[in-house]
Symmetry: C2
Subunit: 242 residues, 2 copies
Amino acid sequence: MKDLKINNQPVTLVDQVEAKLLEYIKTEDLNPGSSMPNEQTLAKALGVARGVLREALSRLRMLGLIETRTQRGMVLKEPSILGGMLRVADPLLLSELSLLDVLEFRVALELGISSDIFRKITKKDIEELEVIVEKGIILEHNEYALASEYAFHSKLYEITGNQTIIQFQKIINPIITFVKDKFEENFKPINIELEKENRIVTHADLLECIKTGDVNAYRDKLDCHFLIYSIFLNEKRKLSKK
Amino acid sequence: MKDLKINNQPVTLVDQVEAKLLEYIKTEDLNPGSSMPNEQTLAKALGVARGVLREALSRLRMLGLIETRTQRGMVLKEPSILGGMLRVADPLLLSELSLLDVLEFRVALELGISSDIFRKITKKDIEELEVIVEKGIILEHNEYALASEYAFHSKLYEITGNQTIIQFQKIINPIITFVKDKFEENFKPINIELEKENRIVTHADLLECIKTGDVNAYRDKLDCHFLIYSIFLNEKRKLSKK
DNA sequence: TTATTCCTATTTGTAGGACAAATATAATAA
DNA sequence: TTATTATATTTGTCCTACAAATAGGAATAA
């Protein structure tokens, strides 16, 4: 076992069993609902103690890949592609570098769904956005109350109808909120400057583009709406290179 | 334990221990490199058998949150935000619906990083893209050989310098490749039609926009480059609604 | 015949003990 | 002081036993 290491961590029997179980599931072409052999059988087949097998199965259970039932045994499920992220997407667990990556990722994604939004939006969606914008609480310098910010932007994600994108945005929202709070003092002067230059884009501005169906104007304004993050990230990246 | 279920799955002691460990790590404000109490101590503190604790710790190990060392004990690490995705991002594990979500996610993301690319790109990057485009192998109807397709697009991701985005694209690439292969017969007629309408955008076209610095033209052309996916996804989504 | 209830067998979940394996640290020698 | 060796410590693995929770079959009632 001495020579079996990844990232200087020994590759334990549990790691190996986990990999073998994944392989088994894939090669047997098992589908959600399929049963797997019971623990005793699997442990014997893999030549490990039941405890080791259980540790590996526990991992699969966490991934959502299996459900376990007394008597029936283990049943396959489709894993959640973002299930792992859900567990670790916490500002207390991640480095600042990763948090900034996520912020940038989120900005890029929202710019990227613009075409999808315009393609898929309904009259009802627009009405809902109107309500959100009307009820939105604006603090100073185009800062929105957290709930207003979340309501508007998550509605945009919902319009895509893409469950993975929608779930992604929900998962990372605590990170976005945290970063905005932590670096409030950095964001404030940027915002004031943007305000002076008349480069503030409100939710109402964005909604106006949506209503007129001008996706290019929407993208430009959204890019501008997020300029505060781009400027902030550029500054942080510059500092971190020194 | 009868009343403690989530999604009709019993919440086991292992689930509870996992949650408590995560809570402990967060509330103790532990950082990468910090040590945790050893297994015996933790098991006693949590009032569970060592086996149960080990199952929960095994999960944390999988997430990359802890490293385990004999004598030293367990040491905290920063988890990889995409580590869980890496394990399940496999076409053999995911439903078709999820695969299509991922395809759409990827398209949106690449559209979304356009501003970042133009902001961050260097002369060297452009030269590398030129080499990639020159060496690119084009099949018929603007289909690129897999390696050429991957080389061009992954270079774009690399230009962002955002490690999370870069890793994301790598992780989902097998999915993208699988979907393109599986639905080849669907893509072909769309491609032929786009070719007739002169709506084919090549990597060389995109590179030209990059070189002239026209981000809006780039976005339009990229949207067009991905039109085949948008049309395909719309058709699949229409069918699945009936 | 069908529906409901009860019972049994089966499997997972948990506990505890033992010992091997791999360090990390302390002690000793050069 | 540095290098080597020995020891203590902790994780990794194995085993046994039994509790808990079904799942499915059998029996009974309508």
